[in-house]
């Protein structure tokens, strides 16, 4: 992935050059910065194996994406990626780094990353390594406003996978996001992607309420956007949990 500034500034009214390669209007104080082109990586992935459990999908996706871009899934390759990549490939590298204790220092360094998605992936990787700082960072991520930030929903799912239901209200409410809300589709779909992780926590107390797994599934299936129900249905199909099978049967009812 590359990103970089073009060589041509965009300000035709500027009368002074800045160190950033832009120009500045002295009269208005407006700074015109040069164009930036961001060529994101190809995120197209093959179909996951039919027998891949939904709980393993994120690991598979990270490994497959890194492999597709020639990034080795060993400690050395991931360490290099953690230091040099950005955006989706850095997110994937941070996720895949969970399997390497020797990358703990690099993951700690990513916790305060400006891209909150990177910080959450690093936090989850650390948490999977048994590092309490990762759990703390995931819990802290729940406080960000959903909409402008999507990582709280990811963090909620990761916490659920760790047996912590704290983020349940975010997922429940995300499934009922108003269509007029900021990035409503992304919020609702991302909430839907976390539903399966709360099935093992069904009935558990969470942030002043109780996890209602069946309620989450019902809410998703009843969503006016059929893609939301389809997403949750696909999760249930890829789960060995008896409760998933029962909820799926109910859904097919």
């Amino acid at each position: 992935m590359t990103s970089g500034a073009s060589t041509q500034g965009t300000g035709d009214a500027g009368d002074g050059d800045t160190e950033d390669g832009g120009t500045q209007d002295v009269g208005t104080g407006t700074v015109h910065l040069p164009d930036v082109t961001w060529a994101g990586p190809d995120l197209t992935l093959p179909e996951p194996p039919d027998d891949l459990a939904y709980t393993d999908l994120a690991d598979w996706r990270a490994r497959t994406l890194l492999d597709r871009h020639g990034i080795g899934a060993d400690a050395a390759g991931l360490r290099d990626a953690l230091a040099t990549q950005q955006g989706p490939l850095l997110v994937a590298a941070a996720h895949a780094a969970a399997g390497f204790d020797e990358l703990r220092d690099a993951l700690h360094g990513l916790l305060p990353h400006p891209d909150d998605a990177v910080g959450v992936e690093a936090a989850y990787a650390l948490a999977r390594q048994g590092d309490a700082a990762g759990v703390d960072a995931l819990r802290a991520a729940l406080a960000r406003p959903v909409g402008p930030y999507l990582s709280p929903l990811t963090a909620a799912g990761y916490l659920a996978r760790l047996g912590d239901a704290t983020g349940y209200p975010l997922v429940r409410d995300g499934l009922a996001t108003d269509e007029q809300a900021v990035d409503a589709r992304a919020v609702t779909m991302l909430a839907a992607k976390q539903v399966l992780f709360f099935l093992p926590l069904d009935g558990r107390a969470a942030a002043g309420t109780t996890v209602d797994a069946a309620g989450l599934v019902a809410r998703a299936l009843a969503h006016p956007d059929p893609a939301i129900g389809e997403q949750v249905r696909a999760e249930l199909e890829r789960s060995p949990l008896p409760l998933a099978a029962r909820l799926l049967a109910d859904a097919r009812g």
Partner: protein, 362 residues
């Protein structure tokens, strides 16, 4: 730490503010004003810390973020030769450099933004050291730069993003097709420092391209395609029949494909991605407008994060691989089925070349 600060911090006795020390500047003046007018680079040079540039490595950005949160601590260990205390503060050596910083071409000369102010504030906190003998360590209290002198002022950011997508058939792809949607150009970036707010506006250009490839298969644009014969019509129909157990209706296409329906499939992805990115750009604008910055450089760093945020939003919206493709194949399933049915019906009537004559021996 500049030399002047180092010397003064060591030598100035007493907690009380020196009578001749300058009063702390008002929050909107001093370092803060220099920072606002001259940018981070000016202040960084003055205070002797690294300057962050747009596109800096992630580690630098992370460190900068931590710095803004007041979490970065630096341990300083220096050796200072013992000698008489200075009579007065040294002149502010970096001042001229700071005001000639190119972050802002005509930055006003800072009226009170001198290292003297910071030095005096630090000096005022130093307890008079005992006259330690050689080889004895004297522990000094922590020195804290007062908030109104220390960290750069954080102003709000008001973002205005114009999302400008385009969709075109272009590029070389692997069979049977692909849609590329994750390239962005941020153009026309303007940053206007206003009262307490950096107003930033730019256009997020998103050229979405799609294309298809046959993979060696024969195109079947309709039930009357010349490639269809009596011998192969059943195979053609089978190749174009949507498999409803596979991603909502993926046709097998082992030897025959329908270019027009494959183009429709990719256009579905392109249109969907355009919609996702439209919402993602709105979310990125909301995110941008919830940030703070202390310089144009900070704003540029924030703007540079926008494409990745839009990509993340689009990925979140798309659902997992299975559901994404199910929607696209589902969109074309009825058309595939209709074409396959028409081919079978036509073949059953013996309308394709090579069919036995009516009443003839098969």
């Amino acid at each position: 730490m500049p030399d002047s600060l180092r010397a003064v911090a060591h030598a100035r006795p007493g907690r009380a503010r020196r009578a001749d020390a300058p009063a702390p500047p008002a929050p909107s003046s001093g370092l803060l004003r220099l920072q606002r007018d001259g940018g981070n680079a000016a202040v960084a040079r003055m205070l002797g810390r690294p300057v962050r540039r747009p596109g800096a490595a992630g580690g630098d950005v992370a460190a900068a973020t931590a710095h803004r949160a007041g979490e970065v601590r630096r341990t300083v260990s220096v050796e200072i030769r013992r000698g008489p205390a200075p009579e007065a503060l040294e002149p502010a050596t970096p001042r001229a450099r700071a005001t000639s910083d190119h972050d802002a071409p005509t930055a006003a000369e800072p009226e009170t933004a001198t290292p003297d102010a910071v030095a005096a504030a630090l000096a005022a906190q130093v307890v008079a050291p005992v006259d330690a003998g050689d080889g004895r360590t004297v522990t000094l209290p922590d020195l804290v730069v007062p908030a109104d002198l220390g960290g750069p002022e954080q102003d709000a950011v008001a973002g205005a993003i114009t999302y400008s997508p385009s969709v075109a058939q272009a590029g070389v792809v692997s069979p049977f097709g692909a849609t590329r949607w994750s390239t962005f150009t941020i153009s026309g970036i303007s940053v206007t420092p206003d009262a307490g707010t950096y107003r930033v506006a730019f256009t997020l250009v998103n050229p979405i391209t799609y294309n298809v490839a046959s993979g060696g298969c024969t195109d079947i644009p309709s039930a009357t395609a010349p490639a269809i014969t009596h011998a192969n019509f059943a195979a053609v129909a089978a190749d174009l029949t949507p498999d409803l157990t596979d991603d909502g209706g993926r046709p097998p296409r082992t030897a025959f494909w329908a270019e027009d329906l494959t183009l429709r499939h990719e256009r579905f992805h392109a249109t969907e991605r355009q919609g996702f990115a439209t919402a993602g750009a709105q979310a990125a604008q909301a995110w941008l407008s919830a940030q703070t910055a202390s310089s144009v450089v900070d704003v540029a760093l924030l703007v540079a994060q926008v494409p990745a945020r839009v990509v993340a939003s689009s990925q979140a919206s798309a659902g997992d691989v299975h559901t994404k493709e199910s929607r696209a194949y589902g969109d074309g399933a009825a058309l595939y089925q209709a074409r396959a049915d028409a081919i079978r019906a036509r073949g059953a009537t013996g309308a394709y070349p090579g069919a036995p004559a009516p009443g003839g021996t098969p």
